[in-house]
Every structure is written in structure tokens, then in C-alpha cells.
Amino acid sequence: MKKTALSAMAAVLAACGGSERAVSNDPFCQAVLPMVDAYLERVRSENPTPDDDRYGGTIVVGGYGEISDGMNAAVSGDNTATQHQNFVNLMTLIDYDERFEPRPYLAESWEMSPDSLEITFHIRRDVFWHDGQQTDAHDVAFTWDVVTDPLTAFPNAAFWDHWVHGPEGVEVVDDFTVRLHLTRIHADFLDPWRQTAILPEHLLGDVPRDSLRQHPFGTQCPVGNGPFVFNEHRTNERWVFDANPAFPASLGGRPFVDRYIYRIVPDQTTLLTELLTENVDVYISVIPDHAQSVLDDPALELKRFMQRQYIFVGWNSRRPQLADARVRRALTMGTDRESIVRSVVRGYGTVAHTGVPPFHWAFDPNAVEPLPYDPEAARALLDEAGWRDRDGDGVRESADGTRLSFVIKYNTNQTRQQVAEIMQSQLAQIGVEAQPQVVEYTTLMSQIQTPSLRDFDAIVLGWSADFKLDDTDLFHSERIDRPYAFSGTRNPEMDRLLEAISNTADREQAKELWTEYQAVLVAEQPYTFVYFPDRLDGVNRRVRNVVMDTRGDWVNVKDWYLDPASR
């Protein structure tokens, strides 16, 4: 009896130990991974590690979620995924420098035709896919064809608004030269080529576009051409990447670390513990409540930069209470956004007045006269608009008896809940009844976005404020029956300016248009813009040379190195 128990125990333990690298049994992976391994072995022997003590070691980064859709750049839209595609495993044609100006990456140079409707990219000749094939112009043309093919359902179709879609939009001039065609030019027309990584034609060329999403390339065996080579992916556990010794020297050569691991730790408190106990080197997206713990630990550093995102309260102007712009302005003036930033995100954010973020070239601190926090003026404005407390219950009514009362919906997210609750108490001071209500995210999205429903009065939400800004989907009256125009804004002046911005290439001119547009936006107040949140990352000081800024947390991951004494 005892013997059986013991041998059973030994068998269990044996099964526990000795785990192998997780390799997918998919035929594509079975075919391609040995080629990657062979390539890596070859380039390792051809490119010995430079004699420098910065090389070597493993860096572990912890984040809350999976890399959704993995390295499949044609179907993903997730921030963590895009960063891993662009900075870790794959390459984009261009990237941005510290001032967010385009600089060569996979494309070593480019030139525009005199009429600005053609751009010719010259592709580097020293970049290889991790199975040994050279990356060339055909891969770029293929990627172009994939992302603009409606069957692929590339999630951010608006990227390509200014480009000629499909095969007509691209010509391969020679193996390392590719020309693309534009329909019109925009001040940030190159931005999509910073966002969208190039994919390998020789591996994905034959895959039907409508099933590209299911291809094992994404999450099981991606073959990139970037600074890190895919090693393994254990779902919901970790991704492992190895340094690519053949990464072009003129782009910095091989990464300093031997191995980069992305660990998925869904619980914030656990992730903080892992950072504090030095089991992970980086805690991505530290919540403001944890910032002090990171600051208090001398071994750690808190990185802080402005995210490409803003938090706002969207008003449904179809509702009688919210139809008048004066009411919406009064709601903004009755909300102390400074105090929201102080209490909700502990000061790790900047009050927003429009959706143009302070890091953007179109931002002008003097562009708009911001609506101040002024409850007195807010009350006067509501009086003027005809909303008075006629029955003495503390809530204003219009002449026909409609109460100035509405529901603020938010999804299960503590920050947004707090924004809704603070507004409830502050707006009560000016005679407005706001009732917070929580709704599950996916359900909430279909309630507000479905044009026939628009089942909301007000909603706390966040949008990304990317380098290429465009509010057309949000506020242009032509889009009013489209999902994102849930505010129901109709303002001919805004329509005109949005169109003009979209057709202006010159940044100086565009900036003036943005200034004009923002003035109208502030008067119209389709949203109460609340704040631009800061991104916080906790980094162990043994990791050196870490740059994290608005471009991303991983922007120079290939240049990170470990303090030799700590390895």
C-alpha cells in the first residue's frame, strides 16, 4: 500500500519535471520551427557575441493580458500586440524618433513624387526572415495587399483612407524597391507604416484571406525578421523570444539580452508582488494606487509618460436634457476635472479640453479657451438655457417639466466608476441629477454603438489619441448613423473643418485648422473631455538604458541591457 503510494507520487513528480519547450503540433509549425532553429544556430555561429559585458542575460516583462492575435499584424489591433510586432519580433517600414518624426527602419530611404501622390520605399538588403529567407519589396507589396483586402478585415481600415487600395495601389519596381500610390496627402500620411508590421509573403502568401486570423503564424509559430526570434508561447503563461544575432549592425545589431520573456500575470497585486520580489523586471502599466510602492523601493524606478489615450464623458445629444450645447458646457463647468485627476489617478494625468494630446504637433496650449471649473457660471448657464428648479427638489426642470436627470454608464473599471461617481456628486451641486450605472463592457459597447439603439444618456469611455488624429468618425454629421458618432453631433462648421484637416498636408496649415476646430469643439461639447492618463511602468534598476515614452513601453527593448553585476 505504502509502496504504491510512493511510486504513484514519484510518477506524478516525474510528470511535473522535465518539461519540454512547448511546440505546436500544427503542420505549419512543425515545418517552420526547425528552419527557424537551424537559422538561429547558423547566424549564432556566424555572428559571435561582441566582447562587451552588456551582452547576455534574460529580461522578464510582466503584463496583465495575452498578446491578442500574437504576431499576426494583419488582424490585430491590441496595443501590447502591436508593440511586440513592431519592436520585438517583426519590423515596420519606418519608426519614429524621440520627437515623433519618421526615420528609416526596414525602409532605408523613401522619396515622394513631385505631385506627392507616389511614394517609393527602398528596402534594406540585410534583413532576413528568421527562417533564412530575405525580406524584400515583395513582402511589402504582399502586406499591402493583405491589409487592404476587405476579406482580411484589417481592424483599422481608416489607416488607409489616403491610399489607393489593393493591387492597383502598389508596384514592385525591383526586388528592393516598392512604390505605393496615394489618393491625397495628409499631414501624417506615413503613420500607418509605423503601426503596421511587414509580414512574410513566402509563408503567408497562399493563406486564404478570410481565414488568415486562424493561421498558426499568429500565436503558435510566428516567423519575424526583427531583433528577437520567437522561441515559444505557452498560452496565458508566457512568450519567449531569443536575441537575433543577425539583426543589422546599422540598426544597432543584436539585442543586448540573450532572452526576452513576456509573462502574463492578470492580477495587478500579484504583478506588483512579482516586481517587488524581483521575479519580473518590468511591470507594464502600473495602476496609480501601486505607484507609491514602486517609488518607495530603491531597487525600482517608476517610468511615466503620456499615453496615446484620453478619458471622456460622451453626451447623447438626442436626449432632450442634453440637446442644448449650453447644458453640455454647464456640465463640463460643473465638473472639477483637476480634482478627478488628483483623486482618481493620483495626479498621474493631465486635464483634457479636447482630444488633441499635448505631445502632438497639432497641440497648441493657447488654442482653446478652456472651460473652467466654475459652478456659479454653470448654474447661470443652466438658468439661461431654461433649466430651473421649479418644484424645489434640488433638480432642475425645463419649462415643460423634463427633469435635468440622466444615467452615466460605465463598464466594470474602477477608474471610470470613480469618474462617474465624482461627477454625480459635483453635478448635484448645480442642480443636475446624474446616476452612475455599471454595464458589462461588450454589452455597453453594443448599446451605444448600434445606430438603432443608442441606449445611453452619458457614458464614461476612453479613446486612443494616436499620432494620426482624426475626429471624423466621432463628430462628422455624415457619420451620424455610423457606430462611433454616438454623441449625435451635427455642426456644419465642424464638418467643414474636419474635411479640411483631412485634406491638408502642411502641418502649419493643419495646425491652424486644428486650432479653429478645437474652438468649435469646446463650444459644442459633444464630450466632456476629462483627462489624458499617464502610463506608468515599474522597472527594476538592474535593467539599464530603458526608454519608455509616448511611442511605447517597448520602443527600445533591443537596447535594454542588464547590469552585469546582477546577472
Binding site: C16, G17, D26, F154, R238, T273, T277, T442, S446
Partner: protein, 328 residues
């Protein structure tokens, strides 16, 4: 016996299909769809429609149901939207992890629960009995996710950073990131230390429950005539309690174990999240959030099957431990 088991297994098939059908329509009727995850200005209606088609959601729900049922009966659970892989692969990757976690927890809870309950019962109303009752009640009333976080704080964070213990436990994960480079013994040890906190968090609540039942059951048995006879024969108290009394008082516990399986799986959802354990519970909850219909369906099918089988095993074990029970 064989006939009984065969009958139960055949009876389980419509039950599991019925559960899966209810889940199918429940998730299909819930608002939202997987494409919503990509929602951002710039995602056009046309793209959403195409995504829907690529996900195979452009057909009416009853057509999808018939197709899904047909495919499932041939062992094809479809593609997970969020993991871009066949559902079966995803589940087979997670299932062993969840079974390891919940199996260890069940074992720990069973051993400690029965022993504590027995020790309480043989000295009813003693200080030991009352103290154990208070402690057990405390753990029984605590939500397991809170307990889990406290254990992480104590045995991982404070043990290492504040109290300077020579040994502390990893806060999360199934293995260390350098697991592959460890020796065989090191790998086994690495697995074991990663199991301790999640298993303890999951087992504590369960142990408390089992101990309560065990105490009650033991109290009943210990007053039986045959126990008095055993004592009168001059057997030592140890033999009387652990050989004669304990065996018989375990009969209700076996049934209890069968009933605890669904509770256990419910508990793994939180524990897997807190300890970053790549298991089924967490995967299915994530799948509900992302409206990954095939994974929700596949996962609930697996869970339903396991629960039905566990109950069957409990019933069979019942007959094994109690020869008076016969299924004929």
C-alpha cells in the same frame, strides 16, 4: 455494477448535450460580439461585417447551433477566436494545469479535513475541538481570493522583503522563467514550490467544510455499539478511532467530494487569475469577456463532462467503501 455504470454513462450523454445547448443559446443571446474588442474609431461597419463572416457568425443562430452540434459530435470544437487556434488544442493545454491544481487541492483538503474532523470528534467540546471550530469557521467564511492575496503578501512579499525569511514562495506562475535551464530535480522542486500557495488557497475553504462534515459523521459513528465492542475488546484508542470509526464515517465525505467538484472548479477561476495559473477556469472567464463563443462552448462542455463523471465516480466509490450499498 458494470451495468449500473454503463447506464449512468449513457444517461450522462443527453445531460451534457443539454447543458451545452443551454450554454450555447445563453451566450449567443448575450449582447455584444467578438468584433467589439477591436472597436475604435476607424473600424468601419464593413470591417465589422467581414469579421463576423470570418468568425462564422453571419448565419442565424439556429443554423450555427446545428453546425456546432454536428461538428462537436465528431470531436471538432472549432477555432478559438481569441487564441487563433483549435479550441481542443487550447483546452488540452489548459486542462492538465487545472486538474493538477484542483486535484492537489482536493487531496490536501481531503487528508487534512478528515484528520482534523476526526481529532475534533474524539474530544468533543474540548479546548482543541472549540479552537479548531473557530479557526475552521474563519477560513470557511473567507472568500478564497482574499485568502489567496493574503498568502501572497505574507509568504512571498513580506517573507522576502520585510521579514527576511531564508525561504519564500513564488507569487505566481506554474514554473520559474528559467525552468528549462534547471536540473531535473530542480525542475520538480520548482513545480512544487509554485504549487504550494495556489493549492493552499484553494484547499483551505474546502478543508474547513470537509472537517465540519467529518466531525459530525464521526460523532455519530463513535457512539455506535460496535465501537463500544472494539474498545471492550481492549483495542487501543488509536486503532479504534482510525481503523474502525474513521473508515465508516468517511462514507458521507465521499459523496461530499463529488458535490464539491463544481465548487472547486468555481474556485479555480479566482485562484488561477491571482496566481497567473494558465488554467481552464480563467480561460473560460476570459472567453466570456471576449465573446469567444467556441472556447466558451468547448470549455463548458469539458467542465460539464468532468462534473458529471465526478459525480458518477463518487457514487461508485460509495459502493466500494460501503459494502451494504449495491447497484444492481
Amino acid at each position: 455494477m458494470t451495468r449500473y455504470v454503463a447506464g449512468r454513462v449513457i444517461g450522462a450523454v443527453p445531460l451534457v448535450i443539454g447543458i451545452a445547448t443551454i450554454v450555447f443559446f445563453a451566450v449567443s443571446l448575450a449582447p455584444g460580439e467578438p468584433g467589439i474588442l477591436y472597436i475604435a474609431p476607424g473600424l468601419t461597419q464593413e470591417v465589422i461585417e467581414q469579421m463576423r463572416a470570418n468568425f462564422g457568425l453571419d448565419e442565424p443562430v439556429y443554423v450555427r447551433y446545428v453546425k456546432w452540434l454536428g461538428a462537436m459530435l465528431t470531436g471538432d470544437f472549432g477555432y478559438s477566436f481569441s487564441h487563433s487556434r483549435p479550441v481542443l488544442d487550447v483546452l488540452l493545454e489548459f486542462l492538465p494545469n487545472t486538474l493538477l491544481l484542483s486535484g492537489c487541492a482536493l487531496l490536501v483538503a481531503f487528508v487534512f479535513g478528515t484528520v482534523i474532523g476526526t481529532l475534533q470528534a474524539v474530544r468533543q467540546y474540548s479546548l482543541r475541538d472549540s479552537a479548531a471550530s473557530v479557526v475552521l469557521l474563519f477560513f470557511y467564511s473567507m472568500p478564497s481570493f482574499w485568502l489567496a492575496l493574503m498568502l501572497v503578501l505574507m509568504f512571498s512579499l513580506f517573507a522576502r522583503n520585510v521579514w527576511d525569511w531564508p525561504f519564500w514562495l513564488p507569487a505566481s506562475g506554474m514554473t520559474s522563467t528559467d525552468h528549462d535551464f534547471l536540473s531535473f530535480g530542480g525542475q520538480v522542486w520548482d513545480r512544487v514550490v509554485h504549487l504550494i500557495l495556489p493549492v493552499v488557497s484553494l484547499a483551505l475553504v474546502l478543508t474547513a467544510g470537509i472537517a465540519r462534515y467529518m466531525r459530525a459523521s464521526m460523532l455519530e459513528v463513535i457512539r455506535q455499539d460496535y465501537i463500544r465492542t472494539a474498545r471492550a475488546k481492549g483495542l487501543s484508542e488509536r486503532v479504534v478511532v482510525f481503523k474502525h470509526a474513521m473508515r465508516n464515517s468517511m462514507i458521507p465525505i465521499i459523496t461530499l467530494l463529488g458535490l464539491q467538484i463544481p465548487v472547486l472548479f468555481g474556485g479555480t477561476v479566482f485562484i488561477e487569475t491571482i496566481f497567473a495559473w494558465p488554467g481552464m477556469g480563467r480561460a473560460i472567464v476570459d472567453a466570456i469577456g471576449t465573446r469567444d463563443y467556441p472556447l466558451i462552448m468547448g470549455g463548458s462542455f469539458f467542465f460539464a463532462t468532468i462534473v458529471v463523471l465526478a459525480n458518477l465516480v463518487a457514487d461508485v466509490l460509495y459502493a466500494v467503501v460501503d459494502p451494504r450499498i449495491r447497484y444492481d
